[in-house]
């Protein structure tokens, strides 16, 4: 793994006995105590995830919100200062280049993008929005603290975070530099994502891990947690071949950007995307619960009788729901919750039922 990058918490991971795995060019912790126990601990108390591999980007321009709206169907104009929003970069065909978080930080926007898409996203913004100053921050770590105990834990260090609501984004001054805190995450739990100067990251992580409720967790638990929460992983559940409407992410297209809105369209792929929004897509991302115990993993073909109607894009065992779970795409006329399908696992067609997402309701502090 000569070319893999290491996060500022690498030494700490090794000290904690993490099993490491290459991910999007980074050497990341896959697990510490074990995926199942880390998953359950997150839902019961709080877990610390190193997500420093994700891209942190600052955008500046005289009219930065209007500029970014040329690349995303999300409303960025009107996003209040100190608030964050989920957004998609779309392409001319209506496909999804990446999904990301955008925070209004007053005189600039702060973006967090997927590790696997950093280079693509940076090139995309620089090419299409030349008036933008695009700064990729490589001197900051990103730590996610997730779970019902997250507020109490982080408030011991930064009391002001207790007053934040879901998707608030705040700057917390510290002795070693600012923490950029948002009340958000990728687990379906209440919690925070904390951007911290690289030199301060290990100290912050150690302070949090020293607290009774906080344990470290790796990418394995992060994946099963996000799947239970019905959240997409780019490159797996969404990519350039899926549109936001097919992916059931229409909620990320605010009214102002839809037909009849003040700023309708004006983003790549708008015609197809807004058309599908009105008339419905040909296929839809759905949840799927196998009736039996065998997980239906990514790539599992889905059938209605003898007709192939779709494919699983993510599948795993859900520790909190105590059964296997999948998400995938099915023909729109098979996407109603309760539809009985089969999935082909090792040559056998096993029953599964289309289900609403998420598998487990989110516990965000709204």
């Amino acid at each position: 793994m000569a070319d893999t990058k290491r996060t500022p918490l690498h030494g700490l991971h090794e000290e904690l006995g993490a099993r490491m795995t290459p991910f999007a060019g980074w050497e990341m912790p896959l697990q510490f105590a074990g995926v199942m126990s880390e998953h359950l601990h997150t839902r019961a108390a709080a877990s610390l995830f190193d997500v420093s591999h994700m891209g942190q980007v600052v955008l500046r321009a005289t009219d930065v919100a209007a500029a970014l709206e040329r690349l995303t169907p999300a409303a960025v104009i009107g996003l209040p200062e100190g608030r964050q929003r989920y957004a998609l970069f779309t392409d001319e065909n209506g496909g999804i280049i990446d999904d990301l978080m955008v925070a209004n930080r007053g005189d600039h926007l702060f973006l967090v993008v997927n590790a696997s898409r950093v280079d693509v996203d940076l090139a995309h913004m620089r090419e299409n929005l030349p008036e933008l100053e695009v700064e990729h921050l490589t001197d900051r770590a990103l730590i996610a603290l997730q779970g019902p105990g997250a507020e109490r834990a982080l408030a011991r260090i930064a009391p002001e975070v207790a007053g934040m609501r879901f998707m608030d984004a705040a700057v917390v001054p510290m002795s070693g530099g600012e923490l950029w805190v948002s009340r958000s995450g990728y687990t379906g739990e209440d919690g925070y994502e904390i951007s911290v100067p690289a030199a301060e990251a290990e100290g912050l992580a150690r302070s949090l891990l020293a607290m009774d409720e906080v344990e470290p967790a790796g990418l394995g638990a992060r994946d099963s947690l996000r799947l239970e929460a019905g959240l997409c992983l780019h490159g797996q559940d969404i990519d350039e071949t899926t549109t936001p409407i097919e992916a059931d992410l229409a909620w990320s297209i605010q009214k102002a950007r839809r037909r009849g809105g003040d700023r309708a369209g004006g983003f790549p792929g708008a015609e197809r995307i807004l058309d599908e929004l009105e008339n419905g897509p040909a296929r839809r991302r759905v949840g799927l619960l196998p009736d039996g115990r065998a997980p239906m993993r990514a790539g599992t073909a889905l059938y209605d009788g003898d007709v192939r109607v779709g494919e699983v894009t993510s599948g795993a065992y859900g520790p909190s729901i105590g059964r296997p779970m999948s998400m995938g795409y099915v023909d729109a006329n098979r996407s109603a919750p309760g539809t009985a399908l089969t999935g082909e696992v090792r040559g056998k067609r096993l029953p599964a039922t289309v289900t609403e997402l998420p598998f487990r309701p989110a516990t965000y502090k709204r």
Binding site: Q31, G220, P324
Partner: protein
């Protein structure tokens, strides 16, 4: 006790071999969430994929370590797959009646297996 390169342990009693997976294998797999066993009465050939194990990470299989007939399977690990992680030495998978118990000799003894996994 004998061990295979697929990280199974084999315990011979007369012409019946009890088969499970090693501590090393269970640690590598991580939390096991699903196990599919062969049927009693199945005639299997060495190398046949006869067990499916799904962990929180991935699916894998284990193969028949010897030619023979499946004479018993451990349904309790199908009901509670986590038992295999808790105590892989006692959570056996299946028992196989072998025609030629000397076939076991080609598998590793404990020292050789320890060396194999190091």
């Amino acid at each position: 006790m004998k061990y295979t390169q697929e990280h199974e342990w084999l315990d011979l009693d007369g012409d019946i071999v009890t088969v499970g997976i090693t501590e090393h294998a269970s640690t590598q797999l991580g939390d096991i969430v699903f196990i599919e066993l062969p049927e009693v009465g199945d005639i299997v050939k060495k190398g046949d994929e006869i067990v499916v194990i799904e962990s929180v990470k991935a699916a894998s299989d284990i193969t028949a370590p010897l030619d023979g007939e499946i004479v018993e399977v451990n349904q309790s690990i199908v009901e509670t797959p986590g038992k295999v992680n808790e105590d892989p030495e006692s959570a056996w998978f299946f028992k196989i009646k072998v025609e030629d118990p000397t076939e076991l000799d080609e598998h590793m003894d404990e020292d050789a297996y320890q060396e194999f996994i190091e």
